[in-house]
């Protein structure tokens, strides 16, 4: 099938645009999404195409963005609410954790909350401590909410579509570093291309070690795998894609083959994705374990402005290679 390289930003834009055409109830709201064409240009042209009714600029009011999305969803609309960056979603954490995630539960199924929160995530470029979070695991803590974190354009397309069409609330994060990154999308892609919520993916096959990652971590894992291949080590790279539900079956299958695992993430190391995957592995795959499970994450520190120490704090492919070598 012919494929064309598309930036992740464009893939997300296309998915969102098509869903708005498909379903009148889908609308977007957020800071600078309309007149300014979206801070990250994901909603570029939307105002012109769909008008103010469906493309709504909000004030700098994250609590209200988070909570109004819940109300609108309960009432039957399908909001796609954008947090300019995920750092600002902290201001809406209560609406997200206590209402988006729990309304259905505490009214025992009376309501559905079919919303999507989109948030640009990740760190780098000297954005400084309060603008440098990759806190997806925090949001994945809460039952009732799904969390999706794509690593390439095609996945982003299919995952966002599934998130919008599903009747549950989804937090969908978009790595700022991946927005401009091109990756192949089939030319004749079906508008109903959906990636099931919670389904992970094998991004590279290998038999010596399993690298488990999501979002930007997948890039580091793939780079590391190429580097390791030069030394004759074949790494299998798994992209779990969703932090909730978490596709541990995919990890188990790979681990039974490789018996070794390194978990890669952009986020902080304590109470993390790495900790979660490792805990599941040791509980369920103890008999297959040939080496300690390793984790590569950011350093356990807020992120500084200054560029060299910022890089020190970030994970990278070399850190993944080093971790693999420690357990071979």
């Amino acid at each position: 099938m012919a494929a064309r390289n598309v930036a992740m930003r464009e893939a997300i834009r296309r998915a969102l645009r098509e869903e708005m055409h498909r379903d009148e109830n889908v609308f977007v709201m957020g800071e600078e999404v309309a007149y300014w064409q979206g801070t990250h240009r994901v909603t570029r042209g939307f105002l012109e195409e769909f008008g103010e009714r469906r493309v709504r600029d909000t004030p700098i009011s994250e609590m209200a963005i988070g909570g109004a999305a819940v109300g609108a969803a309960m009432a039957g609309l399908r909001p796609v609410a954008e947090f300019m960056t995920i750092n600002f979603a902290f201001l809406a954490l209560d609406a997200i954790a206590n209402h988006a995630a729990k309304v259905r539960y505490f009214f025992d199924g009376m309501f559905k909350v079919p919303l999507v929160y989109r948030a640009a995530s990740g760190w780098g470029n000297q954005a400084t401590a309060s603008h440098s979070h990759a806190p997806e695991p925090i949001f994945a803590h809460f039952p009732g909410l799904y969390v999706g974190c794509p690593s390439n354009s095609l996945d982003a397309y299919g995952m966002l579509k599934a998130s919008i069409r599903d009747d549950n609330p989804v937090l969908f994060t978009e790595s700022i570093a991946l927005y401009p990154k091109p990756s192949p999308m089939p030319e004749d892609l079906d508008e109903d291309y959906l990636i099931p919520i919670g389904k992970g993916d094998i991004k590279r096959e290998g038999s010596d070690v399993t690298l488990v990652a999501y979002a930007r971590g997948v890039d580091w894992a793939l780079q590391a795998a190429r580097q390791l291949a030069r030394d004759g080590v074949e790494a299998e790279v798994l992209d779990l894609r969703w932090l909730r539900p978490l596709d541990m079956e995919l990890v188990y299958k790979s681990f039974k083959k490789t018996n070794r695992c390194v978990i890669v993430e952009e986020s902080l190391p304590m109470y993390s994705f790495g900790g979660e995957v490792a805990a599941n592995l040791q509980e369920n795959m103890f008999d297959y374990m040939d080496a300690p499970i390793k984790r590569v994450a950011a350093e356990d520190v807020p992120l500084p402005y200054s560029k060299d120490i910022e890089l020190l704090a970030l994970p990278n492919a070399q850190k993944v290679v080093d971790a693999v070598k420690e357990i071979l």
């Binding site: 007149y35 700098i60 201001l91 520190v301 402005y305 560029k307 120490i309 020190l312």
Partner: protein
């Protein structure tokens, strides 16, 4: 349509109440001029350095155009008073007398920077100047301001906390909770809303149901000193002096400063400055409402030809900023793990296990 609110009520209020503050002396006015040209030179140099990639990163929000807002209002403070603001903080730092060298070094993330290179443009602060910092989350500093003012109230001191907040931030929950708290606890805060017409790309009218922003504070029972033409440092000062006097003994006050940003929202948001209507509007402001020119005209109309002094201030500003750039560029970047991890926590004997892996502080 050019954004330029004309109903600057407070000007009349100053006269009507018949309690006009002693007008600023010649020395004061000349010093304001010095501060304003220093800020402008500093900011325009930052802009240039960013273009040349000598300052890097994604956030750099300049105070060009806002000078009279900060200079006129902070002239009403005394040394023991407090100041806090958001990320548009370079001008505030310089007005307070922070060393331009340390400020420029912070822009470049150097060890010699005022925050050791950890904070950058958005996080300037100086304990020595009672400057509690610039903050990057919109509205996030407002409850801190309430807390800082609480200390004064708690300990029966009459120091005030001058708090700068953008128009966009008045739509954020932090603003409303903090203002209400300051009202019920009579906290000595002067809430200065720097209304520059926009929060990023959103006009005030599209973001706020109440477009006279000081009235939002009035709704909580906070004494309003109205709207001020904040391109005119003298007007700003006259109102600020009254508000400060009020806050010292009574409780919170609010002033709305009508101003304009000359360099758009920040460096990462260039496309917005390119909008045609924006550049027309900007030209109009620069032509008719230029704060440095307004002050200069005022000084000259009062005191005749002071051209030599003003020229000296401009030369000094150029020299000081050039020296600060040279200093910053000659300084080292932090580069070690100690640099990275230091000051995550206070080093403490009360903590059972302190090592780098849990991010313990290194003093």
């Amino acid at each position: 349509m050019v954004y330029f609110p004309t109903d600057m009520e407070s000007k009349t209020a100053v006269v009507d109440e018949g309690k006009v503050m002693a007008s600023p002396s010649k020395e004061m006015l000349l010093d304001w001029y010095r501060q304003m040209v220093l800020i402008r030179e500093f900011e325009e140099t930052c802009h240039q350095l960013y273009e040349e990639k000598r300052i890097t990163g994604v956030y750099l929000h300049l105070y060009s155009g806002h000078e009279a807002s900060g200079v006129g209002s902070m002239a009403a403070l005394r040394k023991t008073d407090h100041v806090i603001t958001a990320y548009r903080d370079h001008g505030i730092a310089l007005i307070l007398g922070m060393d331009p060298k340390a400020v420029m070094a912070e822009m470049m993330g150097k060890k010699t920077g005022s925050s050791g290179g950890k904070g950058g443009s958005m996080h300037l602060a100086s304990k020595d100047h009672n400057f509690w910092g610039g903050y990057a989350i919109v509205g996030g500093h407002l409850p801190l301001a309430a807390g800082i003012a609480l200390e004064a109230r708690y300990r029966d001191k009459d120091d005030v906390t001058m708090t700068y907040v953008g128009d966009g931030a008045t739509n954020n929950g932090y603003f409303h909770e903090s203002l209400n708290m300051s009202a019920i606890w009579d906290l000595p805060v002067i809430w200065i809303i720097e209304n520059n017409g926009y929060g990023m790309g959103t006009e005030v009218e599209r973001a706020s149901g109440q477009i006279e922003l000081h009235r939002k504070a009035e709704a909580y029972g906070i004494k309003s000193f109205g709207r001020v033409d904040a391109q005119n440092a003298l007007d700003v000062y006259a109102v600020a002096a009254k508000a400060v006097e009020y806050a010292r003994t009574n409780g919170p006050a609010v002033i709305e400063h009508v101003t304009y940003r000359y360099r758009g929202h920040g460096v990462s948001d260039k496309q917005y400055d390119a909008r045609d209507d924006m550049s027309t509007e900007l030209k109009e402001w620069m032509k008719t409402r230029e704060p440095i020119k307004i002050l200069r005209d005022c000084i000259e109309s009062k005191y005749g030809d002071v051209g030599d002094i003003l020229a000296k201030h401009r030369d000094d500003a150029q020299r000081i900023v050039a020296e600060s750039v040279a200093f910053a560029e000659a300084s080292a970047l932090p580069s070690s793990y100690e640099d990275l991890l230091g000051n995550t926590y206070v080093a403490s004997e009360l903590v059972y296990k302190t090592d780098y892996s849990i991010g313990a502080g290194i003093d």
